[in-house]
């Protein structure tokens, strides 16, 4: 595979990324770039390494080798660099990971107050705006335990957005949801994409990928097998492995 050149304008640059868990090589030399405002969807079977790849992008997994640049700043394994990068890279998890001891509003203002040193009144105002945007203004004083899955994930998105990140990572954001609740989360994500957010999304929602993605990347055995526009990947996949994977999905 041709080595991706470091593009001054790109938001994410990944060079020769390798990640091992013990003796098992989960990511086997990934090169990728993501441009500002681009929505990239990662697809692939479970265990293909797509979630691990995503978790490398904000330093939740340490790299075995390779290089990641976020907005031209290299991700280094020290707490200062990690904190700095994570302020700019929001992440949404499959299991939401809301803080159960804090109300919805407290969940959202926690990091702006303690990391960005925002005054509490300003943080609350911003949080309420975000909650209106995801349609949950009236839930601000509820605890996460009282929310439905779809509501919880929308709060988690608002919580990540409260840090005003340049990039948003989504790790299978709808996989833990009941089918009827998937739509409300996807529509929030779609809105975010329309607002110009740079997004990297791991998902099994092929409908979302077709509709919203600028580019689809198919990962198998820790490598990028094929990438291209949704039309290309879903309409006319070139690689046998991509064809097999997509074939299995449609049955």
């Amino acid at each position: 595979m041709e080595l991706t050149k470091i593009n001054e304008k790109s938001m994410i640059n990944v060079n020769c990324l390798v990640k091992d868990f013990g003796n098992h090589r989960v990511i086997n030399g990934i090169n990728a770039t993501v441009s500002p405002g681009e929505v990239v969807v990662l697809i692939g079977a479970s265990g293909s390494g797509k979630s691990t790849f995503l978790r490398c992008l904000n330093g939740l997994e340490a790299l075995t080798s390779g290089e990641i640049l976020i907005d031209s700043v290299p991700l280094e394994r020290n707490s200062k660099s990690l904190k700095e990068i994570r302020r700019q890279v929001g992440m949404v998890f499959q299991q939401f990971n809301l803080f159960p001891h804090l109300t919805v509003l407290e969940n959202i203002i926690e990091a702006p107050i303690h990391v960005l040193n925002r005054p509490k009144s300003k943080a609350i105002k911003d949080a309420q705006e975000l909650l209106s945007k995801v349609g949950l203004f009236d839930k601000q004083n509820c605890y996460p335990g009282t929310l439905s899955g779809g509501q919880g994930q929308r709060v988690a998105i608002a919580r990540a957005l409260a840090m005003q990140p340049k990039i948003m990572l989504f790790d299978e954001p709808t996989s833990a949801l009941d089918p009827e609740l998937v739509g409300e989360v996807l529509s929030v994500m779609k809105q975010l994409a329309e607002d110009g957010m740079t997004m990297v999304v791991v998902t099994h929602e092929m409908g979302f990928a077709k509709e919203v993605a600028d580019r689809v990347i198919f990962i198998d055995e820790g490598r990028i097998v094929e990438e291209g526009s949704p039309t290309q990947i879903f309409g006319n996949p070139q690689e046998t492995r991509t064809q097999t994977f997509l074939g299995r999905l449609s049955h």
């Binding site: 904000n58 990690l82 904190k83 992440m91 990971n97 803080f99 509820c142 605890y143 990540a160």
Partner: protein, 222 residues
Amino acid sequence: MNLDFSVIIKYLPFLLQGAGLTIELAVLGIAFGIFIGIIAALLKISHTPLRYVAHFYIWLVRGTPLLVQLFLIYFGLPQLGITLSAFASSVLGLGINSGAYLAEVFRGGIEAIPKGQTEASLSLGMGKFLTMRRIIFPQALRISIPSLGNQFIISLKDSSLCSVITMSELLQTSQRFASVTFGSLEFYTTAALLYLLMTTVISAVLRSLEWRLSKENRTRAC
């Protein structure tokens, strides 16, 4: 049989005073124990060599009787030039002792919090210390409250051992009047009832605390 509980009435104010000291010892001891316990728990789960210090402390304290620890502090330390009052020795002994058990309680609580909580907090740009202080520990403390209450009750009863290093707490006061009046049964029964009263109140207070802190688990009309 010559039981005469009327004698108790006369000495009750002194017994209550002794019970007051018992409460004081238990509260200060457990407060000190919580402080040491948190530090030891954090050290134990840290990946620094300091975790061995925590291991050693827990091993040493849990493996020796509190009475021996109190003797070492009150009678032994003066030989090293460290003389503590009986009160300070008692609080220190109860604190060090309960701290070793609480360290394990807190460690268990911290480890019970799902890893996703830490990941979510870190991914918001919060550092490890902030994550522990604001996200993990508050949740761990809630889980730990029943065990914390248990240790409080144990410490309250264990404070009776401080009687042998001259503390006039409930047991020693009872002992004194029991021998003066030859009313062992009356005085020790009263002491037992007072201990029972104190531990019952503690249990009730902790149950309500637990209930109040678990409000996020209750479904509230939102």
